[in-house]
Symmetry: D2
Subunit: 340 residues, 4 copies
């Protein structure tokens, strides 16, 4: 069986496991106040440039709900694409914290600065706006749920709209490594640290057992965010579990290398599929490839490959997702292509 | 330096690390739907007897907030000792979920069945009770924050009060192993499964990197609890991280063995302290020993030992906590006793 | 100046004021436990048929948030039209209570049973549904925000979908009187009591100073709903304020008579506008009439009439809303028509 | 039957009813944006001195929950006496909004500045304070639940503690009129406006049908508080209902006169009781008098008088509450005294 279902079906990259084993018996303070966590954060800061604040959390939904909840006022909501992860696949975590997700149309998973601006502008010129949820933040994901990427121009335009209306821009980087290292990517960590008020660097889907690193522009860190993490049940007693992993990921560019490997494998797959005349649903530059197949072909493929069913296209064809990861091998790709 | 600060200052027991390494490259479904999680849950069920439902979560505050929130109706609160962890040290997580913690006096950290009953009875006979928070659950911890234990009789009495008023009994077992394996303990997992509507078996403080196993009496599992976990940001994409650890802990009685080891070390310490004429604040049968020392002695001890300051006793004396764990060695104890 | 801005710009119908004055010095128990509240509820029950439970609250947003919050489980959301009042104009009250509003397309303000069914069906057949917000209720308004009405057939079809999926149907009747008494209306209170699990009879917009009467199908009343009302800050110490008003409204069919009067005035207006060649945006049978005018005409009208600006239609034309009420006179209508 | 059960068992003072009747057919904008609401607020501002912000809400629990929720950050709780209304009799409204009530001992219903300071100081010197709920506000009531009053010195001391720790002081004035007009009262509205960050002037229990006027120190008004009111379901479409009542109450000192009348009646009662050798539970200077009677005497009194049972004192005696109001007459008092 070949595994292309997602980018989290193995454990951790071996360098992470080794670090966990190596540091295991070191006595450390709890709750992330240990020197390994500090070292990990310093490495992340260095990679981002400037002097942001870094916090380590366990998972993506947790991170989104806590960051969004901490940055919004109670009467505010968060703007997101109608396909945004927080709008669809987080079981209402943002609403559970009391905030509305204000959805806008998506364009291959992305928001457009002009549409965000038009929405906020219409809000403030509506004479009943005080009866409505204030747009208090913009949420985007990079890569998006469709594996697509914002260009630096697009991100700057969205950031400018947020600045204009004085609301934070928050970027969900669950798969950030794959975005940073894709062919032609023109956005790096320092750009994110400059253009976003907050973003997170995904670990779970990029080689860690768990863990996401939240980066706040220094003066945008919510007050007493440590207590907010605790209150939300997200403070690990053994904070080292997150520190050791991120320390390993940001040592010797491991995070970037394994991300690049996944991109290499995805591009090999993409090229192979196109050569074989397979239709791609979206032109994705990242580790998620969306493939249009007949329902018959899908059934047949299922015998040898694990993948994600994405959506029906028409009566006879559907879209599936094939994801590579740091763990995908060249052999995996070749064996997969042999099935087409 | 000797480390007696808490029971979570090392990583994981080596058998757990080995299991993580061994299973690392196995392709597994996400979100805890993999066969290792299933095996871990089956082993826990077998240890509990009967047919309870088991869920794996990451940490204690998270577990308390989610279980309590899922079992209470919106107009209900949870009864706890005034020193209960949820009442003091969880940053208001229960209130953040909308519920009041209704505190009762503690007796060496424990609630008394008679006082619980008197409180509930007074509530229902108060003609303004419909203007007040309904007592909707009883929360106890075992061992308590003071390292003390309920006897089976005490637990049965509390359980009977809960049954009488048809409210669930929930037991916080952050350090459950140390309670189950203490000298003279007369409560086992099957007792808990019979007497509690829900409880959790603490992993983080008993040898795991993270993880708590929630056990619900079969028909008491909240509907769609999986989604509730997701909504609260507590669903790990790599659920295997929890499954592998609990599978290791419940293979060949590892959980019980390492808990017993910590008790052995604590009893060695307790005996040595008493022999040296040191005063104990509470007669604790578990891995937490509370010691009364002069402030001068405390300052001096601090040069060689990490411990927790507990509370001031009078102008000249204070209470400190010394905790053993699965990782404490006989040498550690002897070296510590040499300082008294 | 002529007043057609809304149906709540005067105080109360004189019969209500008289009742307030008449009962003013009667000593009554607080919190709605007085005999006048009881009488009001009995009259409402009689008008609905069967044996529903009735509660009196102050306003529409309050009622929606409390009823929806009390009937949903924490992992559930409420289906509503994208133009539904709870989706747009209640400042995120439903989300503030922790629940997502799941929006579907509107058709002149209405939901379609077939689209509701398709949505719920797609939800349950989505393999990731446990990661999403469960559709736990259907919310409709009658009349809708566009003044349109469900037919009995349409309501029965929606009710049947709710029954099929075992979720409650809740109807927002902020302007219910105007719906019940419109020309050709085929839905009466007993139909609502039979087809809805909960609905409310709007008082604020139908002649009362404040007040909405919530009707629950007997076995659907949330447990301890009185306490839920108190917890949400909606329990008036002088509950008589609501009881006296609803008692007056449901004595001698006052509620229906004054609603019918508003409809008569609206139909007079509608007929007059059509005779004058004015274009209606929607064919509304109720007290809200939506009129298409050139922006120039709108500016000119504003000199003599208060109305609500609804939305831009194209570069040169917009939609305005003209609302009649129990307080609108035949003279008001004639004077308004003279301006066209 | 004589009525001393509470101060809200009649409707409204006749001047308020007259104002409602007189303004009834005036066309006014909704949501409190009308000139009568504005006039009422201006009169309240004038009575307070300075330039505070005033908002009109419907009831006490609603006001407390909204003001406290709007002024606290999510990780903060509110300090209150263990007998404080928000701690006991508001059905957990504050916790429902996500905040813990941090209770301190009461002294005849009052908090002590020294104890507040000691509590906050202990919090900030506790090394685990980041795991606990931050004390973010002080809540007091004046008069208290026991009818007692803070002296100006006491209030200044509490205000100074709040200033020292930069947290707001909020005063619940459900029965404020009775406090302001009691014999020897040395606190006036300008004092409250100077010493509190927020307080409310109770209307419901002082002659209105409903309504409480919240006063914020100008720069302490929460941003977009109008929307917060709406989101909490507390914005009346016919805001005039509140405006007309407060306009009447603050015209020609009506609020103060009727409060003084209730105090006169209470003092007549108190004097009469003392003359008859009846024991008072507390020395109350306000409209609530707490009387110790044998259980036999209580049963007997119940045949002719409505009162509130307060609490058991010992096996044979209990405490009852007798409340006067703006509606109590001299005859009522004499008839009541005749029963002793």
């Amino acid at each position: 069986m070949l595994f292309f279902e997602n980018d989290y079906s193995e454990g951790a990259h071996e360098a992470i496991l080794e670090a966990l084993v190596r540091t295991n018996m070191t006595h450390l303070p709890g709750y992330g106040l240990d020197p390994i966590c500090t070292a990990a954060k310093e490495k992340i800061k260095a990679a981002c440039g400037g002097n942001p604040d870094v916090f380590l959390l366990s998972g993506g939904t947790q991170t989104n709900a806590i960051v969004i909840g901490a940055m919004l006022k109670s009467y505010e909501g968060v703007i997101a694409a109608e396909t945004g992860h927080i709008a669809v696949h987080e079981a209402g975590a943002v609403e559970s914290g009391g905030h509305k997700v204000l959805t806008l149309p998506q364009h291959e998973g992305k928001l457009r600065a002009t549409e965000i601006e038009a929405f906020i502008d219409a809000f403030y010129t509506d004479e009943t706006c005080e009866h409505m949820v204030f747009p208090g933040m913009v949420y985007i994901s990079h890569p998006t749920e469709y594996g697509t990427l914002y260009t630096k121009n697009e991100l700057e335009a969205i950031s400018a709209v947020c600045s204009k209306y004085k609301i934070p821009l928050y970027l969900d980087g669950a798969r950030l490594g794959y975005g940073l290292m894709s062919d032609g990517a023109d956005i790096g960590l320092p750009d994110l640290a400059r253009l976003c008020d907050a973003f997170y660097i995904g670990g779970t889907k990029v080689g860690a057992l768990c863990g996401e690193a939240v980066v706040f522009k220094g003066n945008k860190t919510p007050k007493h965010f440590f207590t907010t993490i605790k209150q939300n049940g997200a403070l690990l007693a053994k904070g080292r579990l997150l520190g050791v992993q991120f320390d390993a990921l940001f040592t010797d560019d491991l995070y970037f290398e394994i991300s690049r490997h996944a991109i290499d494998m995805a591009m090999l797959l993409k090229k192979g599929l196109l050569e074989r005349g397979v239709r791609l649903f979206i032109n994705s530059a990242t580790n998620q490839q969306f493939v249009v197949l007949s329902n018959t072909a899908i059934s047949s493929l299922r015998e040898n490959v694990r993948f994600s069913f994405w959506e029906k296209l028409d009566a006879e064809n559907s879209v599936i997702r094939l994801a590579t990861s740091w763990a995908t091998t060249r052999d995996d790709i070749e064996n997969l292509l042999d099935l087409f």
